[in-house]
């Protein structure tokens, strides 16, 4: 499951990133990494971007859908 499929308001944990080195670097530099607990706060339309809160670091980012689909997450038991 990627974060693009996660339900709004439901906490999930980041497992891994797919995609190129450039993307990994960018997202890591924003302080988002595997193991972090994140939650989708808001999302525009079906094809639009999301706002994701990183609960572990206490930061929030807006991210396009294409990029969100590169963030693999798992549900938290």
């Amino acid at each position: 499951m990627t974060i693009a499929d996660a339900k709004k308001g439901k906490n999930v944990r980041i497992k891994d990133f797919t995609g190129g080195w450039g993307f990994r670097r960018k997202i890591l530099s924003l302080g988002i990494e595997p193991g972090d607990e994140v939650v989708v706060v808001a999302g525009m339309e079906e094809t639009g971007p999301f706002i994701i809160e990183n609960l572990t670091k206490g930061t929030k980012i807006a991210i396009g859908r294409g990029m969100a689909q590169k963030i693999i997450v798992e549900e938290i038991e």
């Binding site: 080195w21 670097r25 808001a42 525009m44 639009g48 971007p49 809160e53 929030k60 807006a62 991210i63």
Partner: protein, 619 residues
């Protein structure tokens, strides 16, 4: 270092860390600002008096890392390598310290005298993060100072510490990676005969696969990107995490779920559009009600003066007229539009609304190959093109800034709106005006798509959404003043000189000659009466003047007597799209250099000519 020397202090930090707030807080009102056009990302310098010392403060662009991947990072890295500074203040948002430390470690690898500024310490504490700055100092070998820049707290201490570090040239401890990586670094240094800490930096960056550094070292281009680069970054990241855990205690602070609720409410689906559109209506309201009202009051004495002067003959009066015209032109931009728009922009920036608007509009803007953020210059463009160009600063890449600058030039600013309202509304009614504006959006969208097809697509959106913050009026005022002053000193003098030059042309009776010279173009291609020639040329000064000059040239206020509906529409079209006003040209020049300004003027004129020419077949 001698006491009377200027101490150069560079501010480096991640975006949103409060670096600019710090800059503005100390730069104050007396600062001398100069920007460096031509460089990909400009940084601001200013000189301030601090005690008996003079400090030159350099505000580097905000960067998450120092990997030269984008223009801002490249510009910061180049600055650091050139070494024209005495100390770097590494500003960080203490509430996201673990992440911010990664940049700190990259700065440490640059081996520069530095100080860590733990900014927004109040927000960190609210989040339950308690930082022991003395411990951090022990670990890194450089001082760390806690500040709350927006309230002015800790700033004095920070700068005294920075001066001490600069004078002692105190550098941070270099840190070691794990053995395997260290061996590779050593090998790389040997291979390219790199020495010292500078050499170590180059070796690390080459192993990371950084193109900029690879191109600097002969033979390094061939080194292939391996897993090593990722390992280095991962280690630096782990080090940052470990350091954070070693110097900070995290208690479960009170987290605001209210903010998330507001975001979920405002930024989901149709509500997102409703929120952003009402925001824009509010902005347009400011532009047209307040701006127009202020303009009338501010300009009436000047218009009276101009009227008075026009009654007299002789070239001295004409030159004085040009002088007053230039001053008025500057006032017409600054007082009614620049100040209110910049004020509003700074305010929304500080509150944290801007990135949210960018988020809401991202989807729509991507259809014309742009980022969500670029919607802001567009809207401001309806007021005045100059602050619109200023606000392209918020865009990340140079090519995006240029693209948006090019397209905002086509948006009818309030001056052009005056002409559109006077001509289209008067002779065509409200529906015609509405149609005219919709058509304008269509043209911009089409051209946007065309340009998008020619250039690299806008990168996917990925921006930080800062917490909502209460703005500090003092800070907002300083920001506004900073940019307004910039306009006053840069654009105004040119505006006045240009204006006098045009008046001289009139004195020497060049009007008739210009008209007949331009006739093949104005009458032939555009299908306008030949008197329009000078009107269009002089209109570059201030576009709303073209209306008045047209009346003057025709000798009547009832334009329909001399011009057909078709001619009126073509005249309006050309005025709307051709070269923006002189103030815009000056500003584009200052920001992007002569070549781009020239190209954009040609682009505008081409679009205007094509549309006007096509209109001949319709009306």
């Amino acid at each position: 270092m001698k006491e009377n020397n200027i101490i150069k202090i560079a501010l480096a930090g991640q975006p949103n860390c409060g670096k600019s707030t710090l800059f503005n807080a100390v730069a104050g009102y007396k600062a001398i600002v100069s920007n460096f056009p031509g460089t990909t990302v400009e940084y601001t310098r200013t000189q301030i008096k601090f005690g008996n010392r003079t400090i030159e403060l350099i505000d580097l662009p905000g960067t998450y890392s120092l990997s030269t991947m984008d223009a801002a990072e490249l510009s910061a890295v180049q600055f650091l390598l050139e070494g024209d500074f005495d100390v770097v203040i590494n500003v960080m948002d203490a509430s996201v310290m673990s992440r911010s430390l990664e940049l700190t470690f990259e700065l440490i690898e640059h081996d520069v005298p530095m100080v860590v500024c733990l900014n927004m310490i109040d927000e960190a504490e609210k989040k339950g993060i308690i930082i022991d700055e003395k411990k951090l100092e022990e670990k890194l070998g450089i001082p760390a100072v806690k500040t709350i820049a927006i309230k002015g707290k800790g700033i004095r201490e920070l700068f005294w510490t920075a001066i001490e570090v600069a004078e002692g040239r105190r550098k941070p401890f270099q840190f070691k990676y794990d053995e395997m990586i260290e061996r590779e670094i050593e090998k790389c240094m040997k291979k390219f005969s790199l020495t010292g800490n500078r050499g170590r930096l180059f070796a690390i960056k080459i192993l990371e696969g950084d193109k900029f550094f690879k191109n600097q070292v002969k033979g390094a281009e061939e080194i292939e990107e391996g897993k090593l680069g990722e390992l280095i970054i991962k280690e630096r990241h782990d080090l940052a995490m470990k350091t954070f855990e070693g110097v900070a205690k995290v208690f479960k602070g009170k987290r605001s779920t209210l903010e998330n609720r507001i975001d979920a409410l405002l930024l989901t689906g149709w509500r997102g559009y409703l929120f952003s559109i009402s925001f824009f209506f509010f902005l347009l309201f400011i532009i047209f009600s307040i701006g127009g009202w202020i303009e009338e009051i501010a300009l009436s004495p000047f218009d009276k003066l101009l009227n008075y002067l026009s009654e007299y003959h002789g070239w001295t009066y004409r030159i004085m007229e040009g002088l007053v015209q230039g001053i008025t032109g500057g006032i017409a931009v600054v007082i009614p539009y620049l100040v209110p728009l910049l004020f509003f922009l700074s305010l929304t920036e500080d509150v944290g609304i801007l990135p949210r608007i960018a988020f809401a509009f991202d989807n729509i803007m991507h259809r014309i190959g742009l980022h969500g953020k670029s919607v802001i210059p567009f809207i401001i463009g309806y007021g005045c093109t100059v602050p619109a160009i200023m606000s392209t600063k918020i865009l990340e890449t140079e090519s995006e800034r240029k693209k948006v600058t090019l397209l905002t030039g086509l948006i009818p600013c309030s001056a052009r709106t005056t002409v559109i309202l006077a001509l289209v509304d008067f002779y065509g009614g409200f529906l015609a005006v509405a149609g005219y504006y919709l058509f304008n959006l269509l043209v911009i969208a089409l051209l946007g798509r065309m340009i998008a097809g020619l250039t690299s697509p806008a990168p996917g959106l990925i921006i930080e959404i800062p917490p909502y913050r209460v703005p500090y009026p003092g800070m907002v005022f300083k920001k506004v003043w900073f940019r307004v002053k910039d306009f006053i000193f840069r654009a105004w003098p040119v505006l006045i000189i240009g204006s006098i030059f045009f008046s001289l042309l009139r004195v020497f009776g060049a009007e008739g000659k210009i008209n007949s010279f331009l006739a093949p173009f104005t009458s032939g291609i555009l299908g306008l009466p030949s008197v329009a020639g000078t009107v269009l040329i002089f209109g570059i000064l201030r576009k709303e003047l073209s209306m008045i000059m047209l009346i003057g040239a025709l000798g009547t206020t009832d334009i329909s007597q001399y011009m057909s509906i078709g001619e009126i529409i073509r005249f309006t079209l050309f005025i709307t799209y051709y070269i923006p006003c002189l103030a815009t040209i000056i500003y584009t020049w200052r920001n992007f250099g002569g070549k781009f300004t020239f190209l954009s003027a040609i682009f505008n004129t081409l679009v205007a000519t094509l549309l006007t020419f096509l209109a001949k077949f319709l009306f």
